[in-house]
């Protein structure tokens, strides 16, 4: 456990990192970003909380099974979304320019506001983001959990 100052600041920064990571995930088709990057940012937030509180306290709040379950759910959503368009081809973008959810066409120019576009890409971004955050966070927690510390 680190000092009081670091712990209080980590409490304040953890929601900020999470919301920024989800911002990067959701805006993957308009600005630089996407599923991989946002998932990595959120996993780094988990690493921040782990280092601030120590593994002994954190293992009651963040469970490894939840993270591995998130990884499986993300992978499953990704594959299912790819399968729906199987009538034309695997990974067919059936929602683009169709008028349904995420189905509007996009104009040129800088536009961080037209979130309702690009078909299946935002859904896949969200799925891959959840998968990457689960995988990298589970790696950090596994490496903290096992193996006794070796003194010099």
């Amino acid at each position: 456990m680190m000092s009081k100052i670091v712990r209080t600041q980590a409490n304040f920064l953890y929601p900020l990192i999470l919301i920024f990571g989800f911002y990067i995930v959701m805006h993957g088709h308009l600005t630089p970003g996407g599923g991989f990057q946002g998932g990595a940012v959120i996993a780094t937030g988990i690493a921040l909380v782990v280092v601030a509180y120590g593994y002994e306290k954190i293992k009651r709040w963040i469970k490894k099974t939840h993270l591995t379950a998130a990884e499986g759910i993300g992978l499953l959503c990704f594959i299912i979304t790819a399968f729906i368009g199987i009538g034309t081809s695997f990974f067919y973008n059936f929602l683009a320019n169709s008028g349904l959810i995420f189905g509007e066409s996009i104009p040129y120019g800088i536009n961080p506001g037209y979130l309702n576009t690009a078909g299946t890409l935002p859904i896949m971004n969200l799925a891959v983001g959840i998968e990457v955050l689960g995988g990298l966070g589970a790696i950090i927690l596994y490496m903290m959990a096992y193996g006794r510390e070796v003194s010099e």
Partner: protein
């Protein structure tokens, strides 16, 4: 012109940090130097007009890689011994 000078300086920094990461006997210091290498690489991606790759390198190289190396060094030995 000035852009080319910036380019050359960043590449020189990359070579220096790569040499240092191989040379140092202290594995923790090697992890720190690897972090600096990752920062410079991200700046190079930024200048080569690849912002997606720069964000990925920033998010992974800034926090996660150094964290994993530090945990692994903690659970093994810190000094690289060679007779």
């Amino acid at each position: 012109m000035i852009e080319d000078i910036i380019h050359v300086l960043i590449l020189a920094g990359l070579i220096v940090t790569a040499y240092l990461a191989v040379k140092l006997r202290d594995l923790l210091a090697a992890a720190v130097v690897l972090g600096v290498f990752s920062f410079l690489l991200s700046l190079e991606f930024y200048i080569l007009q690849a912002p997606d790759v720069a964000i990925a390198e920033a998010g992974i190289g800034a926090g996660l890689t150094t964290a994993i190396f530090v945990i692994a060094v903690k659970k093994t030995a810190r000094w690289e011994v060679e007779e």
